[in-house]
């Protein structure tokens, strides 16, 4: 039997390149990608497909001023300071009317500079706000998915507590929606998987480990993943976690780190 979770990771590559993964999935995929160059190659190819899809309709109108905006934007990136207007020096021979017109011109230049500065600052604030909003939206979407998995289960929610020995030992909760066979996975006090390795969830069915979700944790040792797909639960008696090579394994290759039995109803 092939390693199904390696295939599952490769499946995610297409959706990752499209930007169609939820945040938690995307983070887990990026962690796996760092350790697995084949995933990078998969994403690279799918990004080429993505770029081709953009051209299914004819070219939108490309205004000539747009290039000027791009070049001006980059010029601003390069020069942090605005050019200072340099008014001419008054000489004894300068008549009063000429001085007044020079002063007016200087004021106009300075005024334009101030307006330009304000407009630039407003655009920058607007962009920052947009990005903040996008981040909040992503977090909300993830929370919605987590909540939906828990609530949609109604009476068919199974909670498995996976533990290791020791009072401050790592642990994991698996909230298993038996109606949809999806789960929310919450690991805690579990150090991030070492480079080139991932954590792998196993369901023990009729005494045989069935490979499931690959994941790693953040720097704080925790992760919450929603929308974890699990196989149908018939015959499943327990769940376990091991540390496996990137891409996962078809059978556990290292000792069990965390284990928990299904609650008896």
């Amino acid at each position: 039997m092939n390693a199904p979770d390696r295939a599952e990771l490769r499946d995610l590559a297409a959706a990752y390149a499209l930007g169609a993964l939820d945040q938690a999935e995307a983070s887990a995929f990026e962690a796996a990608m760092q350790a697995d160059p084949t995933l990078v190659r998969e994403v690279t190819e799918y990004r080429e497909v993505q770029a081709l899809l953009a051209g299914t309709e004819n070219t939108p109108s490309l205004p000539s001023a747009l290039k000027d905006r791009v070049m001006a934007r980059v010029t601003r990136e390069k020069t942090t300071a605005l050019p200072t207007p340099t008014p001419g020096r008054r000489t004894e021979a300068t008549p009063r009317w000429a001085w007044l017109s020079i002063a007016a011109a200087v004021l106009a230049v300075v005024g334009a500079g101030v307006l330009f500065q304000q407009s630039r600052q407003l655009r920058s604030e607007l962009e920052a706000n947009r990005q903040d909003l996008a981040r909040v939206q992503e977090v909300l979407t993830e929370r919605e998915a987590t909540l939906a998995t828990l609530l949609d289960a109604e009476r068919e929610l199974t909670v498995i507590q996976l533990v290791a020995a020791g009072p401050q030992a790592p642990g994991m909760q698996l909230f298993w929606n038996r109606r949809t066979n999806t789960a929310v996975l919450h690991a805690f006090r579990l150090p991030p998987a070492p480079s080139g390795q991932v954590y792998q969830l196993w369901l023990i069915r009729d005494g045989v480990p069935v490979p499931s979700q690959l994941f790693t944790t953040g720097a704080d040792g925790s992760v919450v993943l929603a929308g974890v797909n699990l196989p149908p639960g018939d015959g499943v008696s327990a769940a376990a976690v091991t540390l496996e090579p990137a891409g996962g394994s078809a059978q556990p290759t290292t000792p069990i780190l965390l284990v928990g039995a299904l609650p008896t109803s």
Binding site: G55, P60, V74, E77, A148
Partner: protein, 197 residues
Amino acid sequence: MPTAQLVSDADLVQRMARGEDAALAGLYDRWASLVLATAMRLTRDQSDAEEIVVEAFAQAWKSADRFDASRGSVPAWLSTMARSRALDLVRARGRRSRLEEASVATVGAPRSTGEGPSAPDAPVLTRERQRAVAEALGALPDPQRQAIELAYFGGLSQSEIATQLGEPLGTIKTRVRLAMAKLRDTLRPYYHAEPAQ
């Protein structure tokens, strides 16, 4: 593809990393239409899409020294940056309108925007590529094409698509995977640039 390219895209990016404005201008001439089209596919708004073009090229300028030709072509790199920004924008603006827009968006036969491009030598795709992409999309089974439309043109995540269609998430994942694999296999000869060695 634009007219014969004496200087490769990757060379232009290298020169851009050294601070050459002319290299940025050269890349813009070659790929601005593609970047604009990528942004338009999601935003459906010319003004928003133009702003994304400015941001994407500014980002390219800043990150040119990190571009790795072994990780894909320059147009795919630029297009990915534009798509990422467009997704941020449409996701921040809410999902309802996106769903409505996704149902309006169609794929298949190329259609004109009514106005010709200002740079006629730099179309998004050659006619041959447009036809190949349209045919490849048209050859997908309807459910797979629908999943790609919602993901690509609607900017929805797989779980959002599952919710929208009332289908299991696993089914949607399979459809996206199969559809993208078919598109990849069919369209490989039409990539924008030769794969890096």
